[in-house]
């Protein structure tokens, strides 16, 4: 029993199969919403699943001039990092399968591992498009990482804990969204940057640099990267809903709150066009300043007023 529990946790629920299915479903919701905003019918409900299955059946080309071990290993690293985060966040309203003080930081940095392996995969090729894509991915990572982390730490400070479960319980009684609106907006937009959604999709701008860091990936590697992105999306949405939107206590809470956030994400995606990379960096500089300003206000007013 002692061994069976962790195995189920890792392979089926909450990490593993379950979060993959939820991730594909959310990917579909996102694409469908964007399609509806653009006055289109949009993809069918099984579309992300069909895409991933098809990619697994395709030939995988390992181009000349790459380190084959890295080329094959990096997508797996990305997916593993993304799946690990699913163990610590309150998916479907249940407590995270594992938790320890400070797991918020671990989750944020595991989410960065996904982006890092994407950038490494991009720089591990002979293709110039992948190289530019990797550079842009890293530039963007450095610009949004600080504000995103600061925005997620705001709730941690008022809850006096770095543990996601404790913050979640605390947020159940306090809507942190109301006291830290700037942090909420920046966390949400930071998630868009992490997922490289428009308007922050300069790293994979298909009109300029083919497909960015993913240019040389085909078949299995591409499918695994897509799965990692899907899991990252679910985990990120869960994290923001748990920290800012009054916590996640039960499945209805979970689906309602994350889907509302997804609606906002889809709306923002269809409202804005792609930023150039230096515009992205500029935007994030202001975002970081805004979060810092909010922190100063928090410190000045004292936590008693804000919490």
């Amino acid at each position: 029993m002692n061994i069976l529990g962790p195995i189920i946790n890792v392979l089926f629920f909450p990490a593993g199969l379950f979060v993959l299915i939820i991730g594909l479903a959310y990917l579909w919701v996102d694409r469908k919403l964007v399609a509806q905003f653009q006055n289109r019918i949009g993809p069918r409900w099984f579309q992300p699943l069909a895409d991933v299955v098809k990619l697994f059946f395709k030939e995988e080309v390992v181009p000349d001039g790459v380190d084959a071990r890295f080329f094959v290993g990096l997508p797996i690293l990305a997916l593993a990092a993304a799946l690990t985060t699913a163990l610590y966040v309150p998916l479907v309203g249940l407590q995270g399968a594992y938790n320890f003080p400070g797991d918020l930081i671990v989750v944020v940095y595991l989410l960065s591992v996904v982006t890092m392996s994407l950038a490494l995969a991009g720089s591990n090729t002979a293709s110039r498009f992948s190289l530019i894509g990797a550079t842009r991915t890293l530039t963007q990572l450095f610009s949004y990482e600080a504000p995103f982390l600061l925005a997620l730490l705001g709730p941690a400070i008022v809850a006096h804990s770095w543990q996601i479960n404790t913050i979640n319980t605390y947020a159940g009684t306090h809507w942190i969204l109301l006291t830290q609106p700037i942090g909420f907006v920046i966390a949400l937009v930071g998630l868009m940057g992490k997922l490289e959604l428009p308007p922050f999709d300069a790293p994979e701008a298909e009109t300029e640099i083919v497909a960015g860091a993913m240019t040389d990936y085909s078949g299995r590697g591409l499918a695994i990267f897509q799965l990692a992105k899907a899991v990252e999306m679910v985990v990120g949405l869960t994290l923001i809903a748990a920290l800012y939107l009054g916590g996640i206590g039960n499945p209805i809470d979970f689906f309602a709150k994350t889907l509302i956030l997804l609606l906002f994400l889809a709306g923002l995606q269809s409202l804005f066009t792609r930023f150039r990379i230096e515009q992205t960096v500029k935007w994030w500089r202001y975002a970081a300043l805004l979060v810092l300003a909010q922190w100063v206000i928090m410190v000045v007013l004292g936590q008693g007023v804000l919490s």
Binding site: R40, G42, K54, V61, F129, A211, T215, Y217, S218, G219
Partner: protein
């Protein structure tokens, strides 16, 4: 017993594969010397009015991601090698759709000094869509027929 089991498995796998391929054809568009009439029609096909995403078609930038190569225009001497290279960069299984009269037969450009001929002289073509240029409806019909022919195989 073991043999029949593997056969069933193979059949199941094959049908899953066909299902996935017919439901998610990612396309890449290559212009090998067209007058741009056909390209504009292809772009029109991808606009919200016709919305190819409901069949799972997404326009991809990289040949490594694509399953269907949509070619327009006759093949010029200059673009012959590029067309071949784009085709060879695509991972198997891959399909080619020739859009427009020029792509299917050489059209009005046939016999020009700089023109090799139609697409089939350079790479194998799976579906032809005639018209100068073909309407978006015709292009959608051609893609759907290509997918149907996959299902029969």
């Amino acid at each position: 017993m073991a043999l029949s089991l593997t056969e069933t498995w193979q059949n199941t796998l094959a049908s899953i594969k066909t299902w996935a391929f017919t439901n998610s054809p990612w396309a890449i568009h290559y212009n090998s010397g067209s007058c741009n009439g056909c390209d504009i029609e292809i772009l029109a096909t991808l606009t919200p009015r016709y919305d190819l995403e409901r069949f799972g078609v997404i326009l991809q930038g990289s040949p490594r991601h694509a399953d269907v190569l949509i070619c327009t225009g006759p093949v010029t001497l200059q673009s012959r090698d590029r067309l071949k290279r784009t085709y060879e960069q695509m991972p198997d299984p891959k399909f080619v759709v020739a859009v427009g009269s020029c792509a299917t037969s050489g059209g009005v450009f046939l016999g020009c000094y700089g023109v090799v001929g139609h697409i089939d002289e350079v790479i194998p073509v799976n579906a032809y869509i005639p018209g100068c240029p073909p309407r978006p409806e015709a292009i959608i019909d051609g893609v759907v027929k290509l997918l149907q022919s996959l299902q029969k195989k």
